[in-house]
Protein backbone atom coordinates (compact mmCIF):
# COMPACT_ATOMS: atom_id res chain seq x y z
CA UNK A 1 0.00 0.00 0.00
CA UNK A 2 2.72 2.37 1.04
CA UNK A 3 4.83 1.31 -1.93
CA UNK A 4 1.96 2.12 -4.22
CA UNK A 5 1.57 5.61 -2.78
CA UNK A 6 5.29 6.13 -3.10
CA UNK A 7 5.20 5.02 -6.71
CA UNK A 8 2.29 7.30 -7.42
CA UNK A 9 4.27 10.17 -5.93
CA UNK A 10 7.41 9.69 -8.02
CA UNK A 11 5.43 9.31 -11.21
CA UNK A 12 3.57 12.47 -10.27
CA UNK A 13 6.82 14.35 -9.89
CA UNK A 14 7.90 13.15 -13.30
CA UNK A 15 4.54 13.92 -14.84
CA UNK A 16 4.43 17.34 -13.26
CA UNK A 17 7.87 18.10 -14.66
CA UNK A 18 6.29 19.49 -17.77
CA UNK A 19 4.43 22.03 -15.65
CA UNK A 20 7.89 23.40 -15.00
CA UNK A 21 7.87 24.58 -18.58
CA UNK A 22 4.63 26.39 -17.93
CA UNK A 23 6.12 28.29 -15.01
CA UNK A 24 9.30 29.34 -16.78
CA UNK A 25 7.55 29.92 -20.11
CA UNK A 26 7.45 33.75 -19.87
CA UNK A 27 11.19 33.80 -19.48
CA UNK A 28 11.79 31.25 -22.24
CA UNK A 29 9.55 33.12 -24.66
CA UNK A 30 11.32 36.36 -23.81
CA UNK A 31 14.70 34.77 -24.32
CA UNK A 32 13.86 33.33 -27.70
CA UNK A 33 11.86 36.24 -29.11
CA UNK A 34 13.61 39.20 -27.54
CA UNK A 35 16.83 38.45 -25.77
CA UNK A 36 18.67 36.16 -28.17
CA UNK A 37 18.12 38.49 -31.14
CA UNK A 38 19.30 41.40 -29.03
CA UNK A 39 22.43 39.56 -27.93
CA UNK A 40 23.07 38.43 -31.48
CA UNK A 41 22.64 41.94 -32.84
CA UNK A 42 24.89 43.45 -30.25
CA UNK A 43 27.53 40.92 -31.17
CA UNK A 44 27.04 41.62 -34.87
CA UNK A 45 27.35 45.37 -34.38
CA UNK A 46 30.81 44.86 -32.97
CA UNK A 47 31.99 43.46 -36.31
CA UNK A 48 30.17 45.97 -38.49
CA UNK A 49 30.09 49.65 -39.14
CA UNK A 50 26.62 50.80 -38.15
CA UNK A 51 24.84 53.78 -39.64
CA UNK A 52 21.39 54.63 -38.35
CA UNK A 53 18.91 56.02 -40.83
CA UNK A 54 15.29 57.05 -40.71
CA UNK A 55 13.62 53.66 -41.27
CA UNK A 56 16.37 51.26 -40.39
CA UNK A 57 20.04 50.82 -40.05
CA UNK A 58 22.73 49.72 -42.45
CA UNK A 59 25.70 47.53 -41.64
CA UNK A 60 29.09 47.38 -43.31
CA UNK A 61 31.35 44.50 -42.38
CA UNK A 62 34.68 45.62 -40.95
CA UNK A 63 35.89 42.46 -39.23
CA UNK A 64 38.01 42.89 -36.16
CA UNK A 65 38.65 46.57 -36.83
CA UNK A 66 36.57 47.82 -33.89
CA UNK A 67 38.21 45.37 -31.49
CA UNK A 68 41.56 46.68 -32.65
CA UNK A 69 40.23 50.17 -32.05
CA UNK A 70 39.15 49.33 -28.52
CA UNK A 71 42.38 47.62 -27.56
CA UNK A 72 45.01 49.71 -29.27
CA UNK A 73 43.64 53.01 -30.53
CA UNK A 74 41.28 54.20 -27.83
CA UNK A 75 43.39 55.94 -25.21
CA UNK A 76 41.14 55.16 -22.26
CA UNK A 77 39.63 51.70 -22.60
CA UNK A 78 42.48 49.45 -21.50
CA UNK A 79 43.74 51.88 -18.91
CA UNK A 80 40.29 52.40 -17.40
CA UNK A 81 39.53 48.70 -17.33
CA UNK A 82 42.77 47.94 -15.52
CA UNK A 83 42.28 50.72 -13.02
CA UNK A 84 38.69 49.61 -12.41
CA UNK A 85 39.88 46.07 -11.72
CA UNK A 86 42.42 47.51 -9.31
CA UNK A 87 39.79 49.56 -7.51
CA UNK A 88 37.44 46.63 -7.20
CA UNK A 89 40.26 44.41 -6.01
CA UNK A 90 40.72 46.80 -3.11
CA UNK A 91 37.06 47.51 -2.58
CA UNK A 92 35.35 44.13 -2.83
CA UNK A 93 37.15 42.36 0.04
CA UNK A 94 36.71 45.51 2.10
CA UNK A 95 32.98 45.57 1.42
CA UNK A 96 32.71 41.91 2.37
CA UNK A 97 34.66 42.24 5.61
CA UNK A 98 32.94 45.48 6.48
CA UNK A 99 29.45 44.11 5.88
CA UNK A 100 30.18 40.92 7.81
CA UNK A 101 31.44 42.99 10.71
CA UNK A 102 28.42 45.29 10.64
CA UNK A 103 26.07 42.33 10.40
CA UNK A 104 27.68 40.69 13.44
CA UNK A 105 27.39 43.92 15.39
CA UNK A 106 23.81 44.53 14.29
CA UNK A 107 22.85 40.97 15.12
CA UNK A 108 23.50 41.61 18.81
CA UNK A 109 20.97 43.37 20.96
CA UNK A 110 21.35 47.12 21.05
CA UNK A 111 19.09 50.15 21.26
CA UNK A 112 18.04 51.52 17.91
CA UNK A 113 18.94 48.34 16.07
CA UNK A 114 16.00 48.58 13.69
CA UNK A 115 16.80 52.20 12.88
CA UNK A 116 20.44 51.43 12.08
CA UNK A 117 19.40 48.54 9.90
CA UNK A 118 17.04 50.79 7.99
CA UNK A 119 19.77 53.41 7.57
CA UNK A 120 22.27 50.90 6.21
CA UNK A 121 19.77 49.69 3.68
CA UNK A 122 18.80 53.22 2.66
CA UNK A 123 21.48 53.62 -0.07
CA UNK A 124 20.23 50.46 -1.79
CA UNK A 125 16.91 52.18 -2.36
CA UNK A 126 17.91 55.82 -2.65
CA UNK A 127 21.51 56.14 -3.84
CA UNK A 128 20.98 54.52 -7.21
CA UNK A 129 20.49 55.58 -10.81
CA UNK A 130 19.58 59.19 -10.93
CA UNK A 131 21.36 60.11 -7.69
CA UNK A 132 24.66 58.66 -8.89
CA UNK A 133 24.18 60.45 -12.17
CA UNK A 134 23.62 63.78 -10.44
CA UNK A 135 26.73 63.27 -8.33
CA UNK A 136 28.66 62.65 -11.49
CA UNK A 137 27.27 65.66 -13.32
CA UNK A 138 28.10 67.82 -10.35
CA UNK A 139 31.68 66.58 -10.27
CA UNK A 140 31.93 67.06 -14.02
CA UNK A 141 30.74 70.65 -13.82
CA UNK A 142 33.27 71.33 -11.12
CA UNK A 143 36.19 70.00 -13.11
CA UNK A 144 34.98 71.62 -16.31
CA UNK A 145 34.76 75.12 -14.97
CA UNK A 146 37.40 74.86 -12.32
CA UNK A 147 34.92 76.36 -9.88
CA UNK A 148 33.30 74.71 -6.94
CA UNK A 149 29.85 73.33 -7.62
CA UNK A 150 27.60 72.84 -4.71
CA UNK A 151 28.65 70.79 -1.74
CA UNK A 152 26.39 67.78 -1.51
CA UNK A 153 28.33 66.33 1.38
CA UNK A 154 29.77 63.48 -0.64
CA UNK A 155 33.18 65.11 -0.62
CA UNK A 156 32.87 65.87 3.09
CA UNK A 157 32.55 62.23 3.99
CA UNK A 158 35.25 61.07 1.60
CA UNK A 159 38.92 61.88 1.87
CA UNK A 160 38.56 65.65 1.53
CA UNK A 161 36.85 65.82 4.91
CA UNK A 162 39.73 64.73 7.07
CA UNK A 163 43.45 64.59 6.63
CA UNK A 164 44.95 61.14 6.95
CA UNK A 165 48.50 61.78 5.78
CA UNK A 166 49.69 62.03 9.39
CA UNK A 167 48.26 58.67 10.25
CA UNK A 168 49.80 57.29 7.09
CA UNK A 169 53.30 58.41 8.00
CA UNK A 170 52.81 57.23 11.56
CA UNK A 171 51.85 53.76 10.39
CA UNK A 172 54.82 53.70 8.06
CA UNK A 173 57.16 54.58 10.91
CA UNK A 174 55.69 51.69 12.88
CA UNK A 175 57.27 49.40 10.28
CA UNK A 176 53.95 48.29 8.92
CA UNK A 177 54.52 47.23 5.29
CA UNK A 178 53.92 50.05 2.81
CA UNK A 179 51.58 47.95 0.72
CA UNK A 180 49.32 47.37 3.66
CA UNK A 181 49.35 51.02 4.65
CA UNK A 182 48.44 52.00 1.10
CA UNK A 183 45.60 49.51 1.15
CA UNK A 184 44.26 50.96 4.39
CA UNK A 185 44.56 54.50 3.06
CA UNK A 186 42.72 53.54 -0.12
CA UNK A 187 40.01 52.05 2.04
CA UNK A 188 39.57 55.09 4.19
CA UNK A 189 39.40 57.22 1.06
CA UNK A 190 36.70 54.94 -0.27
CA UNK A 191 34.67 54.65 2.92
CA UNK A 192 31.67 56.38 1.36
CA UNK A 193 31.46 53.87 -1.50
CA UNK A 194 32.15 50.95 0.82
CA UNK A 195 29.31 51.93 3.14
CA UNK A 196 27.01 52.67 0.23
CA UNK A 197 27.58 49.37 -1.53
CA UNK A 198 27.32 47.27 1.61
CA UNK A 199 23.53 47.44 2.02
CA UNK A 200 22.55 44.17 0.37
CA UNK A 201 25.52 42.14 1.72
CA UNK A 202 24.74 43.30 5.27
CA UNK A 203 21.15 42.10 5.02
CA UNK A 204 22.18 38.76 3.51
CA UNK A 205 24.77 38.23 6.26
CA UNK A 206 22.16 39.11 8.86
CA UNK A 207 19.84 36.49 7.45
CA UNK A 208 22.67 33.95 7.58
CA UNK A 209 23.54 34.86 11.15
CA UNK A 210 19.97 34.42 12.26
CA UNK A 211 19.96 30.97 10.71
CA UNK A 212 22.76 29.75 13.00
CA UNK A 213 21.27 28.11 16.04
CA UNK A 214 22.33 29.64 19.38
CA UNK A 215 22.76 26.11 20.70
CA UNK A 216 25.95 25.76 18.64
CA UNK A 217 27.51 28.78 20.32
CA UNK A 218 26.23 27.59 23.67
CA UNK A 219 27.93 24.23 23.40
CA UNK A 220 31.14 25.82 22.14
CA UNK A 221 31.15 28.08 25.19
CA UNK A 222 30.64 25.15 27.49
CA UNK A 223 33.64 23.52 25.86
CA UNK A 224 35.67 26.62 26.67
CA UNK A 225 35.78 28.52 23.39
CA UNK A 226 35.89 32.29 23.66
CA UNK A 227 34.02 34.72 21.41
CA UNK A 228 37.00 35.11 19.04
CA UNK A 229 37.36 31.38 18.56
CA UNK A 230 33.69 30.75 18.06
CA UNK A 231 33.60 33.52 15.47
CA UNK A 232 36.30 31.83 13.39
CA UNK A 233 35.31 28.23 14.04
CA UNK A 234 31.52 28.57 13.90
CA UNK A 235 30.34 31.81 12.35
CA UNK A 236 32.73 31.98 9.41
CA UNK A 237 32.40 28.35 8.22
CA UNK A 238 28.63 28.35 8.58
CA UNK A 239 28.39 31.67 6.78
CA UNK A 240 30.80 30.70 4.01
CA UNK A 241 28.06 29.96 1.45
CA UNK A 242 26.71 33.44 2.03
CA UNK A 243 30.19 34.91 1.81
CA UNK A 244 30.38 33.24 -1.60
CA UNK A 245 27.04 34.66 -2.76
CA UNK A 246 27.97 38.08 -1.44
CA UNK A 247 31.38 38.01 -3.11
CA UNK A 248 29.72 37.34 -6.45
CA UNK A 249 27.08 39.99 -5.77
CA UNK A 250 29.64 42.64 -4.83
CA UNK A 251 31.77 41.94 -7.90
CA UNK A 252 28.85 42.03 -10.33
CA UNK A 253 27.50 45.13 -8.64
CA UNK A 254 30.85 46.86 -8.93
CA UNK A 255 31.35 45.96 -12.56
CA UNK A 256 27.86 46.79 -13.80
CA UNK A 257 27.22 49.94 -11.79
CA UNK A 258 26.11 52.68 -14.14
CA UNK A 259 28.59 55.25 -12.84
CA UNK A 260 31.75 53.26 -13.34
CA UNK A 261 34.29 54.68 -15.81
CA UNK A 262 33.88 51.90 -18.40
CA UNK A 263 30.13 52.30 -18.63
CA UNK A 264 30.60 56.01 -19.15
CA UNK A 265 33.28 55.39 -21.75
CA UNK A 266 31.04 52.96 -23.65
CA UNK A 267 28.23 55.51 -23.65
CA UNK A 268 30.60 58.24 -24.68
CA UNK A 269 32.12 56.33 -27.60
CA UNK A 270 28.68 55.41 -28.89
CA UNK A 271 26.88 58.70 -28.61
CA UNK A 272 29.48 61.44 -28.47
CA UNK A 273 31.87 59.93 -31.02
CA UNK A 274 29.17 58.03 -32.96
CA UNK A 275 31.40 54.99 -33.07
CA UNK A 276 28.72 52.37 -32.47
CA UNK A 277 30.76 49.35 -33.44
CA UNK A 278 33.69 50.47 -31.31
CA UNK A 279 31.38 50.81 -28.34
CA UNK A 280 29.87 47.36 -28.91
CA UNK A 281 33.32 45.83 -29.19
CA UNK A 282 34.35 47.49 -25.93
CA UNK A 283 31.22 46.24 -24.22
CA UNK A 284 31.92 42.66 -25.29
CA UNK A 285 35.58 42.80 -24.35
CA UNK A 286 34.58 44.20 -20.98
CA UNK A 287 32.01 41.45 -20.53
CA UNK A 288 34.71 38.87 -21.25
CA UNK A 289 36.93 40.37 -18.57
CA UNK A 290 34.09 40.36 -16.04
CA UNK A 291 33.30 36.74 -16.86
CA UNK A 292 36.91 35.65 -16.40
CA UNK A 293 37.17 37.42 -13.06
CA UNK A 294 33.89 35.92 -11.86
CA UNK A 295 35.09 32.47 -12.91
CA UNK A 296 38.35 32.86 -10.98
CA UNK A 297 36.59 34.15 -7.89
CA UNK A 298 34.03 31.34 -8.00
CA UNK A 299 36.76 28.74 -8.26
CA UNK A 300 38.62 30.29 -5.37
CA UNK A 301 35.53 30.68 -3.18
CA UNK A 302 34.18 27.24 -3.98
CA UNK A 303 37.26 25.62 -2.51
CA UNK A 304 36.83 27.42 0.76
CA UNK A 305 33.08 27.16 1.03
CA UNK A 306 31.67 24.81 3.59
CA UNK A 307 28.24 23.33 2.90
CA UNK A 308 26.44 21.52 5.67
CA UNK A 309 24.81 19.35 3.08
CA UNK A 310 25.75 19.31 -0.54
CA UNK A 311 23.12 18.29 -3.00
Amino acid sequence: MIRKAEKKKTSLIRKNGRYGWFFISPFVIGLVLLYFPIIFNSFRFSFNQLSVGQDGYALKFVGLESYRYALFKDPDFVRNTLSLIGTLLVQSPAILIFSLFIAVVLNQQMPGRGIFRAIFFLPVIMATGVVLKADMMNAMLESLNGSAGIDTGVSTVTAGGFDISNIQSMLERMMIPTGMVEYLVALVNNIYSVVNYAGVPIILFLSGLQGISPAVYESARVEGANAWESFWKITVPLLSPIIFVNAIYVIIDGFTRSNNPIMLLIDDVAFAKNNYSGSSAMAWLYFGVVLIILGLVSLLCYRFTFYQERD
Binding site: Y19, I24, P26, M110, T152, V157, G211, A283
Partner: protein, 314 residues
Amino acid sequence: MKKRKINAPDWVLAFHPKNWAWLLFRLILMIGLSYIILLPFLKRISVMFMSLDDLQNPTVWLIPQSPTWDNVTRVLKYGGYWEAFTNSLLISLSCAILQTLVCCMVGYGFAKFKFRGKTFFFLMAVFTIVIPPQTLYLALYTRFRYFDIYGLLSLFGIGPIKPLETVVPSILLSLTALGLKNGLYIFVIRQFFKGVPQELNEAAWVDGCNPIKAFFSIMFPMARSMLVSIFVLSFAWQWTDTFYSGLFNRSMTVLPMILNKVTAISTEAISNGTMMSSVMQNTAVVMIIAPLFVFYLVFQRQLIQGIERSGIVG
Protein backbone atom coordinates in the same frame (compact mmCIF):
# COMPACT_ATOMS: atom_id res chain seq x y z
CA MET B 1 19.17 31.26 46.80
CA LYS B 2 16.07 32.10 44.88
CA LYS B 3 16.66 32.78 41.24
CA ARG B 4 16.04 36.35 40.22
CA LYS B 5 13.55 36.75 37.45
CA ILE B 6 14.45 39.40 34.92
CA ASN B 7 11.68 41.23 33.18
CA ALA B 8 13.70 43.98 31.64
CA PRO B 9 14.26 43.92 27.88
CA ASP B 10 17.56 42.46 26.78
CA TRP B 11 19.23 45.69 25.85
CA VAL B 12 18.85 47.03 29.39
CA LEU B 13 21.06 44.16 30.51
CA ALA B 14 23.65 45.50 28.14
CA PHE B 15 24.14 48.44 30.48
CA HIS B 16 25.65 46.11 33.03
CA PRO B 17 29.13 47.57 33.73
CA LYS B 18 30.80 44.60 32.09
CA ASN B 19 29.01 45.28 28.83
CA TRP B 20 28.71 49.01 28.64
CA ALA B 21 32.10 49.64 27.05
CA TRP B 22 31.36 47.28 24.18
CA LEU B 23 27.90 48.77 23.81
CA LEU B 24 29.30 52.27 23.75
CA PHE B 25 31.81 51.27 21.12
CA ARG B 26 29.10 49.75 18.96
CA LEU B 27 26.81 52.74 19.32
CA ILE B 28 29.55 55.19 18.40
CA LEU B 29 30.51 53.10 15.40
CA MET B 30 26.93 52.81 14.19
CA ILE B 31 26.21 56.49 14.68
CA GLY B 32 29.41 57.41 12.83
CA LEU B 33 28.58 55.20 9.88
CA SER B 34 25.00 56.42 9.81
CA TYR B 35 26.40 59.94 9.62
CA ILE B 36 28.39 59.01 6.52
CA ILE B 37 25.26 57.66 4.87
CA LEU B 38 22.85 60.36 5.94
CA LEU B 39 24.95 63.51 5.58
CA PRO B 40 24.79 63.65 1.77
CA PHE B 41 21.01 63.35 1.90
CA LEU B 42 20.71 66.07 4.55
CA LYS B 43 23.03 68.32 2.56
CA ARG B 44 20.99 67.85 -0.55
CA ILE B 45 17.82 68.79 1.24
CA SER B 46 19.39 71.87 2.78
CA VAL B 47 20.87 73.06 -0.53
CA MET B 48 17.44 72.67 -2.08
CA PHE B 49 16.15 75.51 0.10
CA MET B 50 19.16 77.79 -0.22
CA SER B 51 19.17 81.01 -2.16
CA LEU B 52 22.23 82.05 -4.15
CA ASP B 53 23.34 84.29 -1.31
CA ASP B 54 23.38 81.36 1.06
CA LEU B 55 25.35 79.25 -1.37
CA GLN B 56 28.04 81.87 -1.77
CA ASN B 57 28.25 82.56 1.92
CA PRO B 58 30.88 80.27 3.47
CA THR B 59 29.47 80.59 6.97
CA VAL B 60 26.23 78.91 6.02
CA TRP B 61 26.34 75.21 6.78
CA LEU B 62 23.35 72.94 6.50
CA ILE B 63 20.85 75.55 7.74
CA PRO B 64 20.01 78.21 5.14
CA GLN B 65 19.88 81.78 6.44
CA SER B 66 17.32 82.94 3.95
CA PRO B 67 15.39 79.84 2.95
CA THR B 68 13.51 80.01 -0.32
CA TRP B 69 11.09 77.94 -2.38
CA ASP B 70 12.45 79.32 -5.67
CA ASN B 71 14.38 76.19 -6.64
CA VAL B 72 11.43 73.95 -5.99
CA THR B 73 9.02 76.09 -7.97
CA ARG B 74 11.49 76.25 -10.86
CA VAL B 75 11.73 72.48 -11.05
CA LEU B 76 7.95 72.19 -10.82
CA LYS B 77 7.54 74.72 -13.60
CA TYR B 78 10.40 74.02 -16.04
CA GLY B 79 10.91 70.34 -15.35
CA GLY B 80 7.28 69.38 -15.84
CA TYR B 81 7.47 67.63 -12.50
CA TRP B 82 3.87 66.52 -12.05
CA GLU B 83 3.53 65.07 -15.52
CA ALA B 84 6.78 63.16 -15.06
CA PHE B 85 5.64 62.06 -11.63
CA THR B 86 2.40 60.59 -13.00
CA ASN B 87 4.22 58.84 -15.83
CA SER B 88 6.85 57.46 -13.48
CA LEU B 89 4.24 56.24 -11.04
CA LEU B 90 2.35 54.52 -13.83
CA ILE B 91 5.40 52.83 -15.34
CA SER B 92 7.14 51.91 -12.10
CA LEU B 93 3.99 50.53 -10.54
CA SER B 94 2.96 48.42 -13.51
CA CYS B 95 6.49 47.18 -14.12
CA ALA B 96 7.03 46.34 -10.46
CA ILE B 97 3.77 44.39 -10.21
CA LEU B 98 4.40 42.49 -13.44
CA GLN B 99 8.02 41.76 -12.62
CA THR B 100 7.17 40.49 -9.16
CA LEU B 101 4.49 38.13 -10.48
CA VAL B 102 6.46 36.86 -13.46
CA CYS B 103 9.74 36.45 -11.58
CA CYS B 104 7.88 34.60 -8.83
CA MET B 105 6.48 32.15 -11.38
CA VAL B 106 9.80 31.67 -13.11
CA GLY B 107 11.71 31.31 -9.85
CA TYR B 108 9.22 28.72 -8.65
CA GLY B 109 9.54 26.81 -11.91
CA PHE B 110 13.32 26.70 -11.52
CA ALA B 111 13.14 25.66 -7.87
CA LYS B 112 10.53 22.94 -7.76
CA PHE B 113 10.39 21.06 -11.05
CA LYS B 114 12.66 18.61 -12.75
CA PHE B 115 12.76 18.79 -16.53
CA ARG B 116 15.31 18.72 -19.28
CA GLY B 117 16.85 22.00 -20.30
CA LYS B 118 16.28 23.54 -16.88
CA THR B 119 19.98 24.01 -16.20
CA PHE B 120 20.50 25.76 -19.52
CA PHE B 121 17.72 28.26 -18.94
CA PHE B 122 18.80 28.87 -15.39
CA LEU B 123 22.30 29.60 -16.64
CA MET B 124 20.71 32.02 -19.08
CA ALA B 125 18.96 33.75 -16.18
CA VAL B 126 22.31 34.11 -14.45
CA PHE B 127 23.78 35.37 -17.71
CA THR B 128 21.23 38.20 -17.79
CA ILE B 129 22.50 39.28 -14.36
CA VAL B 130 26.14 39.20 -15.30
CA ILE B 131 26.03 40.96 -18.65
CA PRO B 132 26.49 44.71 -18.22
CA PRO B 133 23.34 46.44 -19.54
CA GLN B 134 25.45 48.83 -21.59
CA THR B 135 26.56 45.92 -23.72
CA LEU B 136 23.03 45.67 -25.06
CA TYR B 137 22.19 49.37 -25.20
CA LEU B 138 22.37 49.81 -28.96
CA ALA B 139 20.87 46.44 -29.76
CA LEU B 140 17.95 47.17 -27.43
CA TYR B 141 17.47 50.53 -29.04
CA THR B 142 17.43 49.25 -32.61
CA ARG B 143 15.35 46.28 -31.52
CA PHE B 144 12.54 48.45 -30.25
CA ARG B 145 12.94 51.18 -32.78
CA TYR B 146 12.20 48.77 -35.65
CA PHE B 147 10.26 46.17 -33.76
CA ASP B 148 9.60 42.88 -35.46
CA ILE B 149 9.75 39.24 -34.43
CA TYR B 150 12.00 37.38 -36.89
CA GLY B 151 10.33 39.26 -39.74
CA LEU B 152 7.01 37.62 -38.94
CA LEU B 153 5.04 40.78 -38.34
CA SER B 154 5.97 42.36 -41.66
CA LEU B 155 5.24 39.04 -43.33
CA PHE B 156 1.66 39.33 -42.17
CA GLY B 157 1.54 42.90 -43.35
CA ILE B 158 1.44 44.52 -39.93
CA GLY B 159 4.66 46.23 -40.83
CA PRO B 160 7.44 47.27 -38.52
CA ILE B 161 5.94 48.76 -35.39
CA LYS B 162 7.69 51.59 -33.63
CA PRO B 163 6.91 51.17 -29.95
CA LEU B 164 9.79 53.27 -28.73
CA GLU B 165 7.82 56.29 -27.53
CA THR B 166 5.34 54.25 -25.52
CA VAL B 167 5.34 52.08 -22.44
CA VAL B 168 5.28 48.92 -24.58
CA PRO B 169 9.01 48.08 -24.37
CA SER B 170 9.09 48.32 -20.58
CA ILE B 171 5.94 46.23 -20.28
CA LEU B 172 7.23 43.63 -22.74
CA LEU B 173 10.51 43.31 -20.88
CA SER B 174 8.71 43.01 -17.55
CA LEU B 175 6.32 40.38 -18.87
CA THR B 176 9.23 38.23 -20.01
CA ALA B 177 11.33 38.71 -16.87
CA LEU B 178 14.02 40.56 -18.78
CA GLY B 179 13.61 43.95 -17.13
CA LEU B 180 15.98 45.77 -14.83
CA LYS B 181 17.79 43.28 -12.52
CA ASN B 182 15.14 40.63 -13.09
CA GLY B 183 17.72 37.86 -13.17
CA LEU B 184 18.55 38.76 -9.60
CA TYR B 185 14.90 38.52 -8.54
CA ILE B 186 14.57 35.13 -10.21
CA PHE B 187 17.66 33.93 -8.40
CA VAL B 188 16.45 35.15 -5.00
CA ILE B 189 12.95 33.72 -5.43
CA ARG B 190 14.33 30.38 -6.59
CA GLN B 191 16.48 30.31 -3.49
CA PHE B 192 13.42 31.01 -1.34
CA PHE B 193 11.35 28.22 -2.88
CA LYS B 194 14.24 25.78 -2.61
CA GLY B 195 13.96 26.25 1.14
CA VAL B 196 10.28 25.28 1.11
CA PRO B 197 9.92 21.52 1.72
CA GLN B 198 9.06 19.59 -1.41
CA GLU B 199 6.61 17.49 0.66
CA LEU B 200 4.27 20.46 0.77
CA ASN B 201 4.12 20.48 -3.00
CA GLU B 202 3.77 16.74 -3.27
CA ALA B 203 0.99 16.61 -0.72
CA ALA B 204 -0.99 19.04 -2.82
CA TRP B 205 -0.27 17.13 -6.03
CA VAL B 206 -1.14 13.72 -4.57
CA ASP B 207 -4.40 15.18 -3.36
CA GLY B 208 -5.21 15.96 -6.95
CA CYS B 209 -4.45 19.67 -7.02
CA ASN B 210 -2.69 20.50 -10.27
CA PRO B 211 0.61 22.39 -9.97
CA ILE B 212 -0.76 25.64 -11.33
CA LYS B 213 -3.55 25.71 -8.79
CA ALA B 214 -1.18 24.57 -6.05
CA PHE B 215 1.14 27.44 -6.90
CA PHE B 216 -1.49 30.13 -6.75
CA SER B 217 -3.32 28.85 -3.68
CA ILE B 218 -0.41 27.57 -1.55
CA MET B 219 3.01 28.72 -2.68
CA PHE B 220 2.21 32.22 -3.81
CA PRO B 221 0.58 33.30 -0.52
CA MET B 222 3.42 31.63 1.37
CA ALA B 223 6.04 33.73 -0.39
CA ARG B 224 4.22 36.95 0.43
CA SER B 225 6.86 38.65 2.58
CA MET B 226 9.54 37.74 0.05
CA LEU B 227 7.44 39.13 -2.78
CA VAL B 228 6.87 42.40 -0.95
CA SER B 229 10.64 42.84 -0.82
CA ILE B 230 10.98 42.10 -4.51
CA PHE B 231 8.17 44.51 -5.27
CA VAL B 232 9.76 47.30 -3.25
CA LEU B 233 13.19 46.82 -4.81
CA SER B 234 11.75 46.60 -8.26
CA PHE B 235 9.67 49.72 -7.81
CA ALA B 236 12.52 51.72 -6.33
CA TRP B 237 15.09 50.73 -8.93
CA GLN B 238 12.66 51.40 -11.72
CA TRP B 239 11.87 54.79 -10.22
CA THR B 240 15.45 56.06 -10.25
CA ASP B 241 16.58 54.15 -13.32
CA THR B 242 18.35 56.24 -15.92
CA PHE B 243 19.24 53.43 -18.30
CA TYR B 244 15.89 52.23 -19.61
CA SER B 245 14.15 55.56 -19.18
CA GLY B 246 16.75 57.26 -21.34
CA LEU B 247 16.44 54.48 -23.86
CA PHE B 248 12.71 54.01 -24.17
CA ASN B 249 10.90 57.13 -23.09
CA ARG B 250 12.41 59.89 -25.10
CA SER B 251 9.26 61.89 -25.58
CA MET B 252 7.29 60.66 -22.60
CA THR B 253 8.93 62.32 -19.65
CA VAL B 254 9.62 60.21 -16.60
CA LEU B 255 11.19 61.48 -13.42
CA PRO B 256 14.85 60.56 -13.99
CA MET B 257 14.76 62.56 -17.19
CA ILE B 258 13.78 65.88 -15.67
CA LEU B 259 17.38 66.02 -14.50
CA ASN B 260 18.62 66.68 -18.03
CA LYS B 261 15.72 68.97 -18.80
CA VAL B 262 16.34 71.13 -15.75
CA THR B 263 20.07 71.29 -16.50
CA ALA B 264 19.49 72.43 -20.05
CA ILE B 265 17.03 75.10 -19.04
CA SER B 266 19.04 76.46 -16.17
CA THR B 267 22.23 76.84 -18.22
CA GLU B 268 20.29 78.66 -20.92
CA ALA B 269 17.93 80.90 -19.09
CA ILE B 270 19.37 81.74 -15.75
CA SER B 271 22.57 83.63 -15.20
CA ASN B 272 25.33 82.35 -12.96
CA GLY B 273 25.14 79.11 -14.94
CA THR B 274 27.37 76.55 -13.26
CA MET B 275 26.24 76.92 -9.73
CA MET B 276 22.66 77.41 -10.70
CA SER B 277 22.53 74.29 -12.81
CA SER B 278 24.10 72.32 -9.99
CA VAL B 279 21.48 73.68 -7.65
CA MET B 280 18.69 72.85 -10.06
CA GLN B 281 20.00 69.33 -10.58
CA ASN B 282 20.22 68.85 -6.88
CA THR B 283 16.69 70.12 -6.33
CA ALA B 284 15.43 67.84 -9.06
CA VAL B 285 17.18 64.85 -7.50
CA VAL B 286 15.72 65.53 -4.07
CA MET B 287 12.28 65.89 -5.55
CA ILE B 288 12.69 62.67 -7.51
CA ILE B 289 13.69 60.60 -4.51
CA ALA B 290 11.41 62.27 -1.97
CA PRO B 291 8.38 60.07 -2.85
CA LEU B 292 10.69 57.09 -2.74
CA PHE B 293 11.75 57.99 0.77
CA VAL B 294 8.14 57.99 1.96
CA PHE B 295 7.68 54.67 0.17
CA TYR B 296 10.77 53.28 1.92
CA LEU B 297 9.55 54.44 5.33
CA VAL B 298 6.26 52.61 4.80
CA PHE B 299 7.77 49.35 3.53
CA GLN B 300 11.14 49.38 5.26
CA ARG B 301 10.40 46.77 7.90
CA GLN B 302 8.77 44.30 5.53
CA LEU B 303 11.44 44.85 2.91
CA ILE B 304 14.31 44.00 5.21
CA GLN B 305 12.53 41.12 6.91
CA GLY B 306 11.56 39.66 3.56
CA ILE B 307 15.17 39.56 2.41
CA GLU B 308 16.40 38.33 5.77
CA ARG B 309 14.05 35.40 5.68
CA SER B 310 14.69 34.56 2.08
CA GLY B 311 16.94 31.72 3.20
CA ILE B 312 19.68 32.39 0.70
CA VAL B 313 22.33 29.81 1.41
CA GLY B 314 24.47 29.89 -1.68
